[in-house]
């Protein structure tokens, strides 16, 4: 295992003792194959036990360790040292309040997720004693949107969310849309109120940064555009072809 010198510049902020966030430098020697999370763990263990950050799975599935690394939203467990030269700057995810050091407050997303009704609203009751049938093609229509790990990288990347905190945001819209596209689901109308609202999909200016940073290759930008198209179709149906309106 070849070692290399690593210098990390980490944003520190403890609301009890610091007036302002500030950077702290750590220089140490680490195996070349490590990820940034491994370096943070080494700092925590052998240099500075007061450094706080979230992590768990170390395999890019629990979504805990999202942070800004050299200005880009990344999972620290998948930010490989081999991809960085010079001092690596580590900061908490942008657009979220800092709770402490690299730990952010994500209450906003958690509340928004509940608002999009991210659960099955059945189109019809399930078959007696058996599963709903769903072909591989039907599964494929929504599968990629189920892969969201709620890591918040897309919110940190989204310029709209930075400007308008009320914006529902990429992950919440993609997750609402996931259920709309599920062949078992009949809840689209119930979700539209949030998804198709001004602060829902229409807030998006289609920069596409969310899809670029997604560590799971989900395409929230695509989901948002699909929501826009579908709600446009809804509008035309309601206004130009009123006879197709459903009985309410």
């Amino acid at each position: 295992m070849s070692e290399r010198a690593v210098e990390l510049e980490v944003l520190r902020y403890n609301p009890e003792t610091d007036k302002e966030p500030h950077f702290q430098r750590y220089a140490l020697s680490c195996p070349q194959e490590w990820v940034v999370l491994d370096v943070l763990n080494k700092i925590k263990e052998s240099v500075d036990p007061t450094l706080s950050y979230r992590w768990s799975c170390h395999m890019a599935v629990c979504g805990s360790c999202g942070m800004m690394i050299n200005g880009e939203p990344k999972l620290a467990c998948k930010a490989f040292l081999r991809d960085y030269r010079g001092t690596i700057r580590v900061e908490p995810l942008r657009h979220f309040p800092i709770e402490r050091d690299l730990v952010t407050v994500i209450d906003d997303f958690v509340a928004k997720l509940a608002r999009v009704k991210p659960y099955l609203i059945p189109k019809e009751p399930p078959p007696e004693g058996a599963e709903y049938r769903q072909t591989p093609a039907q599964l494929k229509r929504y599968k990629q949107f189920t892969l969201c790990i709620n890591c918040m990288l897309c919110y940190a990347a989204c310029p709209e969310y930075g400007l308008i905190p009320k914006y529902l945001g990429p992950a919440a819209i993609a997750l609402g849309h996931r259920w709309n596209r599920d062949s078992r689901d009949g809840g689209r109308e119930a979700r539209q109120e949030e998804l198709a609202a001004t602060e829902g999909a229409w807030e998006c200016s289609f920069v596409g940064a969310c899809s670029e940073v997604c560590p799971e290759h989900v395409d929230p930008a695509g989901a948002i555009q699909q929501v826009k198209i579908e709600s446009t179709v809804d509008w035309y149906r309601a206004h130009l072809m009123p006879w197709t309106n459903k009985q309410k």
């Binding site: 403890n14 052998s46 036990p49 629990c62 994500i106 059945p122």
Partner: protein
């Protein structure tokens, strides 16, 4: 101290905790439910389970066959009444998840697909590509948002159960955002806090799996059962311990030694099966304990591939082809490339056995009830026991659903019969005083990182795939010493907000208790069974040890080890046959 009053408090919001919360919310809409977890629900380690969940659904399969595979796989240490209940409930639970929208992989006709898994005679493992646990967790979590009666306490670290005489009446927990302690007054408590894989240095388990729920019950006087049985998963990436699911072999991947030989045939799991056409319950589809033990034996013979991360075998999946790997094992491919720089489409992946799962845990009965009235447990932290001495892959995701629900129904029964919640103010104040003392202590000289390192070394050296009386004796002495030194631990960080120095100190306390229960139980079991292999007692000894071990906590010394008979209803202990001969 701020308090929360609730009917049922659930500690842990992974698969078992969420399933319990949903069962309660559906069965009793007016019930007050507090779901408490040290992490947000979607961070729970259920998300890392890859392969799938077992349940009989396909024609040609039967409950009896799933029973036989499970009981034999567990080397007859399973309680057969519990296994019966588990097997019968399994398909219902998996179907329920389907009805909640879990994206199970499908057959062309739209029915749920199943895949082969180790130690299973038939294909009965439901899966969602190779992120089955992730999808189960997120389906449960998102569904739970439908129920306002489930009140969540995310990032609350539970410290102690509040016990009054002979009844559990709540708990204390630290709200991590403020560092303040809260008292939860609850008529019933369900523990669903997961396993303790982090007591070992090389593990598939995430950082959060520190045995907190196990330790909490243990300190409250509830025994830990069968703690000596620790599962090594045969195929982890050698540098990070990242799991490569058993489904790699279920789909047809093979294991090779450095000479390219499929060495499992030399350890009672032969004859060799055709590459790419796996035969169930033999060769690479043998059970995890046998495959990991074969690795160890082969390593002793010098037949493994030396790497910078230690000796490895090779997991060869090249013959599956890119399309199958992408469709069925996308995460495996991604992990192998990212962390090892090896693309399984093109090259065999070096792997070695890695600590994965605790068969043992909080002593519960068929109803998921512990001996302490008002306290229930489910999932990896509990031992009911359906896994015996060796769990079959894909039984644990199903287990957390079946027994998560069962714990909820038992807790509900308990609440309905005995609604006499009583605040234990003095006990909670004592818990707070303990915490203060820990934070403010100076001059102790011991550090979290230092003690943890010594614990990890001890477990790695003496409590691995093969163990000896001598090594376990040394480990028992070391753990006793570490527990003593733990009382002199000193924190660097004495602030309140999201203090992970404090959190890790508390987690270390949990791990030391669990680790001591493991080595003490292992030292007392003078036989080899399933995942517990003793070099000095190489045979299974049904006469003396067809029994569950129970480790009972002692604040001042090692646990007391006692035994309880295994429940045998229909399957008498026999020979575990994973040769191709049974086919």
């Amino acid at each position: 101290m701020e308090t929360v009053s609730t009917d049922v408090a659930i500690i842990g919001a992974g698969g078992a905790g969420l399933r319990a919360a949903l069962a309660l919310a559906e069965a009793a809409p007016k019930l007050r439910i507090a779901l408490i977890s040290k992490v947000y629900p979607m961070r729970s380690h259920t998300c890392a389970a890859e392969g799938g969940a077992a349940g009989v659904i396909k024609p040609g399969d039967s409950l009896e066959q799933h029973f036989d595979d499970t009981v034999g796989g567990g080397d007859w240490l399973c309680d057969q009444d519990a296994v019966d209940y588990f097997i019968a409930e399994a398909p219902k639970e998996l179907l329920q998840l389907e009805r909640w929208g879990c994206p199970w992989s499908r057959e062309p006709d739209g029915s749920v697909a199943v895949r082969p898994f180790g130690g299973m005679k038939l294909m009965r493992t439901w899966f969602a590509a190779d992120k089955s646990g992730f999808h189960i967790l997120h389906t449960l979590f998102q569904t739970s948002l439908k129920y306002p009666s489930i009140r969540r306490f995310d990032e609350y670290y539970a410290t102690e159960l509040l016990v009054d005489g002979a009844c559990c009446r709540g708990l204390t927990a630290i709200e991590m955002r403020s560092g303040q302690m809260r008292r939860f007054d609850a008529t019933a408590v369900i523990l669903a806090g997961g396993g303790a894989g982090r007591i070992f240095p090389f593990t598939t388990n995430g950082a959060i799996k520190t045995g907190d729920a196990m330790a909490m019950a243990y300190r409250a006087g509830v025994p830990l059962k069968d703690m000596e049985f620790v599962q090594y998963h045969p195929t982890g990436l050698p540098n990070t311990g990242t799991l490569l699911t058993e489904a790699c072999r279920g789909e047809g991947g093979v294991l090779l030694n450095k000479a390219g030989r499929r060495f499992l045939q030399d350890y009672g799991m032969g004859p060799e099966t055709p590459r790419g056409h796996p035969v169930l319950k033999t060769m690479e589809l043998g059970p995890r304990d046998r495959v990991s033990q074969a690795f160890w034996q082969e390593q002793k013979k010098g037949n493994m591939l030396p790497t910078q991360w230690g000796d490895c075998m090779l997991l060869d999946m090249r013959h599956l082809g890119e399309k199958t790997i992408n469709e069925r094992l996308p995460l495996v491919r991604d992990m192998s490339i990212s962390y090892m720089g090896v693309d399984p489409v093109r090259d065999p992946v070096p792997v070695r056995p890695v600590v994965h799962y605790m068969m043992g845990g909080i002593h519960t009965d068929l109803r998921a009830a512990t001996p302490l009235p008002g306290l229930f447990a489910a999932g990896e932290c509990a031992c009911v026991s359906i896994n015996g001495a060796n769990r079959l892959g894909s039984n644990s995701l199903t287990e957390l659903l079946v027994f998560g629900r069962r714990a909820a129904l038992s807790a509900l029964d308990f609440v309905e019969q005995k609604n006499d919640a009583r605040p234990l103010v003095a006990e909670a104040d004592r818990a707070q005083a303990h915490l203060r003392e820990l934070v403010q202590r100076t001059g102790g000289g011991e550090t979290v990182a230092g003690l943890r390192k010594e614990m990890l070394q001890t477990m790695e050296e003496h409590a691995g795939i093969y163990r000896s009386g001598e090594g376990l004796g040394a480990a028992c002495a070391k753990l006793a010493e570490l527990r003593r030194r733990y009382r002199r631990i000193e924190l660097h960080d004495k602030t309140n907000v999201y203090n992970t120095d404090l959190l890790q100190a508390l987690e270390l306390g949990s791990m030391l208790d669990c680790a001591e229960a493991v080595v003490q139980s292992a030292a007392a079991r003078r036989e080899s069974r399933g995942a517990h292999q003793r070099l000095d007692f190489p045979a299974r000894d049904d006469r003396h040890f067809l029994r569950h071990s129970l480790a009972t906590y002692d604040a001042g010394g090692p646990p007391r080890i006692s035994y309880q008979d295994v429940v045998i209803t229909k399957s008498q202990p026999g020979v575990r046959d994973y040769s191709g001969a049974h086919a």
